[in-house]
Amino acid sequence: MAVTAKEHELQKVSPSTRLGVNTLLLFLGKLVVYALLIAGAILFTAPWAWMLSASFQPLGDIFNWPPTWWPEHFTLENYRRVLRAAGIGRWYVNSAFIAFSVVVLQIFFNSLAAYTFAKRRFPGRDAIFVFMLGTLMIPGVVFLIPNYVILQHIPLFGENNILGQGGIGWLDSFWGLIVPSAVSVWGIFFIRQYMKSIPDELLDAARIDGATEFRIYWQIALPLSGPALAATAISTFTWNWNDFFWPMLVISNPDLRTVQLGLALFVVQNRTVWDVVMSGSVLATLPVLIVFLIFQRYFIRGIALTGMK
């Protein structure tokens, strides 16, 4: 059908006019594509741009109607106030410490396990691997209550006795935020997929030369997996910096709050101080935004790769 229709068309219209019409259509098509993309980009950026703009406006201007997109009375007062009042400096240090610890631990433990799954043969490997992947189907909320209870009963921490009774264990401490996140099945899986592409001959040559397995991992496999490690490091950092739910459950001491937890509690408690809330929000986003803009090449490729394999 389609073919005959096309032949019919070919006979009717001379080649030169066809070319002209096609170019015009192509041009109009491009125009529509750009118009749609720009409109979409504006819609998707607007909420964000507004937050940034509002963070530099006095409270009165934030409530302007119509909204002012460009600050009329530019001020840094909101930032000064949020830095003075809310203790955000402390939260920043806490968040940074937690996120960096988790990233370092995950990079090491995940890649060690990934190397083992990708490049070593040992009894039980495939069974363990499949079992590990199977657990990815369990929704995270299933772990909330049991993990909370487990943290509470870690022996010899938080005034617990050796049986894990009597105290609060790792609750209300950074241990409880760092240790459960120190490995990730996704991370292991992702790095393993990458390490599989390292040629075996390279590793075997090192084995023949008498290198230990740890040395092969450390000096050959790890340096060759740079992109995969970078991608997991960045997404781990973002995830941990942004996490809110788990810190909310675990942390109660105000000095131990993370940025997200502190900001959320501040929002819930002070519903009207939008000026401080906006500048606080900008500050809470800044680190992930910077990391993302610098490393987005790895980041987006990493996410795409995890999805495709």
Binding site: A2, V3, K6, G29, V33, L37, F44, P47, W48, W50, M51, F63, P66, N110, L112, A113, T116, F122, P123, D126, A127, F129, M132, L133, G134, T135, I138, P139, V141, V142, F143, L144, I145, P146, N147, V149, I150, V183, V185, Q193, T212, E213, W241, N242, F244, F245, A264, V267, W274, V277, M278, A284, L289, F292, L293, Q296, I300, I303, L305, M308
Partner: protein, 315 residues
């Protein structure tokens, strides 16, 4: 899941009988492999394997976390769940949230990816702009959108009034009928970037020759989209569908900040109800039973999606 397809389990096990002496020898020879796995394995055993089993154990008990006593009550928590109207309401809210949010997010991500894939200039910039909502902390997104939906001064009311889409200011988050749609719209904003990146990767994996031969066969742009692009993106769609459904079923943080489950519990999704039950009312056993029902639902949905999509993928 899609990921398991890359491994070939059991093949070696079923083809030949296990030689125990050989196995033992290998275990001894490769002892360091187990050592390498041990940091992951120990944490995995505690915070995943033991955790899930402990949750199942708790779901058969009544326990308020403060007292050490856990009273065995059999299936009572599950029976109570089936009679709990609030649970049904939460389930319904979750289904609404997921049933509208996931397909809409999928469609908008696909549309953006298709537009970006037409070799436009500035692809990288557009991609970044659409992706920024994904990396924005959920707490911050909630703050921004709370303001957008604000009744008296909010941005949405202003622009909808200006363009004549509404006649009077609406209380988006305080109106029981509007709160859930508002959260769904916000969800599209947060999710489009992630879907877009995955679809872009999927699109780049489609060989150019397929389009060329479709053109030779006289297929127009729309036909190429319907019969080449979309079928070939099925694995990507499948992956996004499964992960977004799992993600959507446990939404919590933005609901906690924006509506706190209200108004009239109309935005109380399962994740939120579970939090309330466990950490506000300290009914750990009941909340665990709820988590397991959620687990079962997600499991069934994943299997159904697998069956549904498997029949569709053709190469």
């Amino acid at each position: 899941m899609a990921v398991t397809a890359t491994t070939k389990p059991k093949k070696t096990l079923s083809l030949k009988r296990i030689d125990w002496r050989e196995t033992l020898h290998l275990v001894k020879k490769q002892w360091s492999a187990y050592l390498f796995l041990s940091p992951w394995f120990i944490l995995f055993m505690i915070f995943t394997v033991f955790s899930v089993s402990f949750s199942l154990y708790l779901s058969f008990h009544e326990w308020n976390i403060i007292e050490p006593d856990k009273q065995f009550i059999g299936l009572e928590n599950y029976i109570r769940l089936f009679k709990d109207e609030r649970f049904y309401q939460a389930l319904w809210n979750t289904l609404l949230f997921t049933g509208f949010g996931v397909p809409l997010g999928l469609a908008s991500g696909l549309i953006v990816a298709l537009l970006l894939n037409t070799k436009v200039r500035g692809q990288g910039i557009f991609r970044t702009l659409f992706y920024i909502p994904v990396i924005t902390p959920l707490v911050v997104s909630s703050v921004i959108w709370k303001w957008i939906y604000q009744g008296d001064y909010g941005l949405l009311n202003y622009y909808m009034l200006k363009f004549g889409l509404i006649k009077e200011k609406l209380l988006w988050l305080a109106d029981p009928d509007l709160a859930m749609p508002s959260l769904i719209i916000m969800g599209i904003w947060m999710g489009t970037g992630g879907t877009m990146v995955l679809y872009l990767a999927g699109l780049q994996g489609i060989p150019e020759e397929l389009y060329d031969s479709a053109k030779v066969d006289g297929a127009n742009g729309l036909q190429r989209l319907m019969f080449v692009t979309i079928p070939l993106l099925a694995p990507t769609t499948f992956y996004i569908l499964i992960t977004s459904v799992i993600g959507s079923f446990q939404s919590f943080a933005h609901i906690y900040i924006m509506t706190n489950g209200g108004p009239l519990r109309r935005t109380t999704v399962i994740g939120f109800y579970l939090y309330e039950t466990g950490f506000k009312h300290y009914e750990m056993g009941y909340a665990s039973a709820m988590a397991y029902i959620l687990f079962a639902i997600v499991f069934i949905l994943t299997i159904v999606q697998m069956k549904f999509v498997k029949g569709d993928i053709q190469y």
